[in-house]
Point group: C2
Chain length 195, copies 2
């Protein structure tokens, strides 16, 4: 077992804060907000629970920081908007799926979307933060009336798919290669956004 050091600062300059954050990110993505305990996060990072409160104020603050910036939608979505409108769905599908295939970005995303299902504050984050920004960037590229509604339907398709894939883990969806998902998603997104 670990020799269980007593109190006092550790020798060297370990990035304890970062390790706590990483452990938290994994746990939040894995078990959701409620079932993630500060004790478990601390244990997984190999430190005392009080460290979490030392570096971050509360569990909610930890959560916010763990979710912060899986990517900047404004940057990622720019190339999606700039391009031939009749391939908007394809570009969005490809960008979307690619991001979700990157594990380091998937974890905060799973944590965010899953958290939104459980906690109203997190739902508000998704609704008034993330979706709002996405709408402002992608909105102008949407054709026809009710652009917001169209956008939300498109995104709900994408998120629903990823939820099924990575949270519910239903087969064969969970094992389908990304490229095929892109091909299946593209026409649907295209129809929602410009049909």
């Amino acid at each position: 077992m670990t020799p269980s050091r007593g109190p006092g600062r550790r020798p060297g300059t370990p990035d304890t804060r970062g390790e706590v954050l990483t452990a938290a990110r994994t746990s939040f993505a894995d078990k959701g907000f409620e079932r993630t305990t500060i004790r478990a996060v601390a244990a997984s990072a190999g430190v005392a629970p009080a460290m979490v409160h030392h570096f971050f104020g509360s569990k909610e603050d930890l959560f916010l920081e763990a979710l912060a910036a899986p990517f900047d939608p404004r940057v990622v979505l720019r190339p999606v908007v700039e391009g031939p409108p009749d391939e908007l769905g394809l570009r969005l599908a490809r960008t979307f799926v690619t991001i979700w295939e990157d594990e380091s970005r998937r974890e905060p995303l799973v944590a965010l979307v899953r958290g939104a299902m459980t906690s109203e504050p997190v739902a508000a984050m998704l609704r008034d933060g993330f979706l709002r920004i996405i709408a402002s960037v992608l909105g102008p590229a949407v054709a026809g009336p009710d652009p917001l509604l169209r956008l939300q339907l498109a995104i709900s398709q994408g998120l629903g798919m990823e939820l099924f894939r990575y949270v519910v883990k239903v087969e064969p969806l969970a094992s389908t290669p990304p490229e095929e998902l892109i091909q299946r998603l593209a026409p649907v997104l295209q129809h929602h956004l410009r049909g």
Copy 2:
């Protein structure tokens, strides 16, 4: 305040078990599994917390019973399968949205889908129970290769939309009339299932 009766059986023949179940269903749909407390359910039903364990064994048993049978997919989906294949998407969209508009059936559905995001056992219920049955009924009506994948994509679109609508509550989706949702959903489902 209520006169706070002491212990002992109540006069009359009140359906306490049913009231507890109803309260539980609402709370599970409203706050999810973790944030639903037995005490709150009991209070909402106007009885002592111990009643919950008297009638149902544990919190998990309560949850399972609260989720049981919002409807029988085999019955509901039969008319969807029987009909012109080029309107399969429309019939499925209409049936799907209609069920979700009925509050008494929506509650257990929200609880189920939301629970699947948090708890693996519930995810298994959704995956190996619900989706399995749906696949067995709807499967034969799907055209082309990978019928299961097609079905899962279609359902993920539907559930994603309802999650956005009733859990995240994002506008304007949350306030869009059902009939419009049906019209927007229909072609997408049709494409997934028979495109």
